[in-house]
């Protein structure tokens, strides 16, 4: 899904280890600072995994996925989870998608206010003065 957007392509390249170093750092700095962007990266990762499970990756993407992405045990678990999820949902009876469309909105209004949360706030006592970002995290 949304495979065509430039942003998604950038994130896929990052996940497959194909970004240049400066781009890699840009993406990392952004998702550390921006929880929404981190969510977007996570969603892109799940889409990428699903496309792999469905055999929808290009040959090059698939090679990179198998040699780079799957080097992480945790990611292999995610792929196994995706397979299980697809299998489980495929066996389940189809839900009534269109039924009660108007009430669905109310039924799904449960979504927690966590999505509204975006605060990245500084506490003066702890992070008092700006310094060049390159000096951060000296080990």
């Amino acid at each position: 899904m949304n495979q065509g957007t430039d942003n998604e392509k950038r994130l896929i390249q990052y996940l497959l280890g194909q970004s240049r170093q400066e781009e890699q750092v840009r993406i990392e700095e952004r998702y550390f600072a921006d929880s929404e962007f981190h969510q977007e990266l996570q969603a892109t990762e799940r889409d990428l995994i699903d496309r792999y499970v469905h055999g929808e990756l290009t040959k090059r993407e698939q090679e990179q996925f198998e040699t780079y992405f799957l080097s992480s045990p945790r990611r292999r678990q995610k792929v196994e989870f995706a397979r299980a999820l697809m299998q489980s949902l495929a066996q389940a009876p189809a839900p009534a998608v269109a039924e009660g469309a108007s009430s669905s909105q109310e039924r799904l209004s449960w979504w927690p206010s966590v999505l509204d949360f975006l605060a990245v706030v500084s506490e003066p006592g702890c992070w008092p003065r700006p310094r060049s970002s390159s000096s951060s995290g000296d080990g």
Partner: protein
């Protein structure tokens, strides 16, 4: 110097140090907790994307280092605390790859580094058993979801490529939300399921 490094590596996070870390993230405890969780998840993503084999351990190591510094009374001068965590994480990763035990893993092809001996019949049987466990756990976890979440995730992932995209557009229209918001909702439910399955598998009796 060596003993200092050793002490730092064996430093254990105390409740006091943890509290101080939270206060530094945000004076409001709830928001600090959310911020802490965001940073931890970002750290795990970072280590995972940089091909660490222990992303969660290294995320915790990074958090501990920052907490230790704060506990020692050090001030951290950055505009945004998250960039400081990122900087420390890069150093943790660098040290990891410089450690002698990493060299062996790095020298192997990634897909072979941790497993993949074709003669491992027993391990394959075990994997098959684990897949069955996973499916069983997943069924339980799906049943444990609120029905609206179960419906949403079921609708979201239904269908082949083209049909699936149409389904998602239709679902987003039905819910009155943008497609990307739907995507994030589905992600949250999926993450909940992933965590639930992990917990379920941990409780599963051994082979």
């Amino acid at each position: 110097m060596a003993s200092s490094t050793s002490l730092k590596k064996h430093w254990v996070l105390t409740q006091e140090a943890f509290e101080k870390l939270l206060v530094c993230l945000d004076p409001d405890r709830e928001r600090a907790g959310e911020q802490y969780e965001h940073i931890r998840q970002s750290l795990i993503t970072f280590f995972e994307c940089r091909r660490s084999f222990l992303p969660e351990d290294q995320a915790d190591e990074t958090l501990n280092r920052v907490a230790r510094r704060l506990a020692e009374g050090k001030e951290i001068y950055v505009e945004n605390p998250t960039s400081y965590f990122y900087g420390v994480a890069r150093n943790v990763l660098k040290e990891h790859w410089e450690a002698p035990e990493s060299a062996l893993l790095e020298s192997l092809p990634p897909s072979k580094a941790l497993s993949d001996d074709p003669s491992r019949l027993h391990e394959r049987q075990l994997e098959q058993y684990q897949r069955e466990q996973q499916l069983d756990c997943l069924e339980r976890c799906l049943q444990g979801l609120p029905s609206r979440n179960r419906e949403l995730i079921s609708q979201y992932y239904r269908g082949e490529t083209g049909v699936k995209i149409q389904n998602r557009k239709s679902l987003a229209r039905t819910l009155g939300i943008p497609l990307n918001a739907l995507r994030i909702r589905a992600l949250r439910i999926r993450e909940t399921l992933e965590d639930c399955v992990d917990s379920c598998l941990e409780q599963w009796p051994g082979e």
